[in-house]
């Protein structure tokens, strides 16, 4: 199966043609927004951990800039940051795409920075808008899978249907990433049984064990299950995990992608299922998956999560027929038909695959049409990692 995408200088293929206006820290975000405002295809993003946010945040921003959905990047710096805009820019530029940067202080303040920024953006936008989509094989696609706001329907219908799609995508040569480090606690065995070799098997246990340590600290337990989970009928983390891992399908797990202060591993060429270390919290997880090279994310929700992402289109699937009825303008795929007995798992999986090809070729998801452009990044505290004995 083929889709229509944009070829990038590094050989990757994008499904969107965005221009990122990225401020290195939140202090310069207003200027980034002023520059991007009113320019078709321009997206202003930042991070909110201050100007010395640490390596993990830097790795994520660089990876997001390198994502094939991004045609060009304009970085905005105040000028005095600990993590300067030009440093990020030089790293992103290795991908061969047009990357420019400006400093508000160097240019003499807000007025000049906005004027100069708009000028640069106009040039970048002119180049990007001249790029044409052409046909590529589905094997080029890298799709993230994530669930959130889960209820019982997620484990019974939504996630298994996405799992059917993942099997189809991998059989067609494509790649899938699942990031659920905590929602794998209690589901280690079935995941490890799919590992390509002993080393990957060990990595799976290690990733999940480390996350269990982080969330077993007194006070942290508040976050690994939510009230909606319990009201929806989920009783324990093991049950939630067993339901959650269904969305990764049944194929061999090729590797666990490392995501630490030291490095953020990308999805290698060649297709297959990958687990990625990171976080279970959705918008942040999506930024990690975008940084690893994901083109889009399929999101399974029982209760009905309604967000999106600035860089990767977000296809929302619900297995809950009632949620679909109440929120149909937010839910791209109704997998509730499985529980009502109207449709088989396989049939819904095929519908998801068709939607993925359409969205890859330019069809806007409901979230994109509603204007959802969430962007946030996750920061792991390296000091805590040492205290917990996870890193030395």
């Amino acid at each position: 199966m083929n889709f229509l995408g944009y070829e990038r200088p590094d050989g990757s293929v994008g499904i969107r043609n965005l221009i990122l206006v990225m401020s290195a820290a939140d202090c310069s975000e207003p200027v980034a927004r002023m520059i991007a405002e009113g320019v078709e295809g321009a997206v202003a993003i930042t991070q909110h951990y201050g100007c010395i946010p640490g390596e993990m945040v830097a790795n994520t921003l660089i990876g997001v800039g390198e994502n094939p959905n991004v045609a060009a990047v304009l970085l905005i710096g105040m000028g005095c940051e600990g993590m300067p805009a030009h440093a990020l820019g030089k790293m992103i530029k290795r991908s061969g795409k047009p990357v420019e940067w400006i400093s508000i202080q160097e240019l003499g303040g807000t007025h000049n920075a906005v004027t100069k920024g708009k000028q640069i953006l106009r040039d970048l936008s002119e180049k990007a808008s001249g790029l044409k989509r052409r046909e590529f094989d589905a094997s080029e696609l890298i799709v993230g899978v994530k669930c959130g706001g889960s209820d019982t329907s997620s484990g019974l219908a939504g996630n298994p249907a996405v799992g059917v799609f993942v099997d189809m995508l991998v059989d067609a040569g494509g790649s899938a990433i699942m990031m659920e480090p905590i929602e794998a606690v209690g589901a280690e065995e079935p995941l490890a049984a799919r590992a390509v070799n002993e080393a990957v098997r060990e990595k799976i246990y290690k990733m999940i064990g480390n996350e269990e340590k982080r969330w077993s600290v007194p006070g942290a337990q508040m976050e690994f299950m939510c009230k909606g989970n319990i009201e929806g009928g989920l009783t324990t983390i093991e049950e939630k995990s067993m339901g959650a891992i269904h969305k990764s399908g049944n194929r061999t797990i090729r590797d666990v992608l490392e995501n630490t202060d030291r490095r953020l591993e990308k999805v290698p060429k060649g297709g297959g299922v990958y687990l990625q270390d990171g976080t279970h919290m959705e918008p942040m997880a999506m930024s990690f998956m975008a940084a690893a090279g994901a083109h889009m994310v399929i999101f399974v929700t029982g209760c009905g999560g309604t967000f999106g992402h600035a860089i990767v289109p977000f296809i929302k699937v619900t297995g809950n027929p009632d949620t679909y009825r109440r929120m149909s303008h937010d839910m791209d795929i109704n997998a509730g038909t499985i529980l009502t007995g109207e449709e088989s798992m396989e049939s819904v999986g095929k519908r998801i695959f068709n939607e993925v090809i359409e969205v890859a070729s330019g069809k806007l998801t409901l979230g994109e049409r509603l204007g959802y452009d969430n962007f946030s990044v996750f920061r792991q505290d390296p000091r805590l990692e040492v205290l917990l004995g996870i890193t030395k």
Binding site: G155, S216, I230, T235, T236, E238, L339, G341
Partner: protein, 103 residues
């Protein structure tokens, strides 16, 4: 008739596909739609929540998807609601504040 789905033949619980009323029999089906048995819950069970499809004794494993998802903290009769009031995780306990008002 109302339905509840049991994901694996090894399971001792099934999830209600619609609200089950107390005293009214419900059909327990497998994902293949094959009927496993009929069960009559004593009290109503909300959509998506679990009911016991086998007798479960205090200390027994609760099994769903063919995998252990927790341990029974009390005896659970056939058709009884199986949830945070009678099951505990074997791995990580969530704060009681999330479910206190349910009981």
């Amino acid at each position: 008739m109302t339905r509840a789905m049991m994901m694996n033949a090894k399971d001792n619980v099934a999830a209600a596909l619609e609200r089950l009323e107390g005293g009214v029999p419900t059909t327990v089906i497998l994902p293949s739609q094959e009927v496993f048995r009929e069960v009559t819950p004593e009290k109503s069970i909300p959509t998506g929540h679990k009911l016991a499809v086998k007798e479960i004794r205090k200390g027994d494993h609760v099994v769903k998807y063919g995998q252990v998802i927790g341990t029974a903290t009390q005896d659970i009769g056939l058709g009884d609601h199986v949830h945070v009031h009678n099951v505990m995780s074997n791995r990580m306990q969530m704060p009681e504040v999330w479910y206190r008002e349910e009981d």
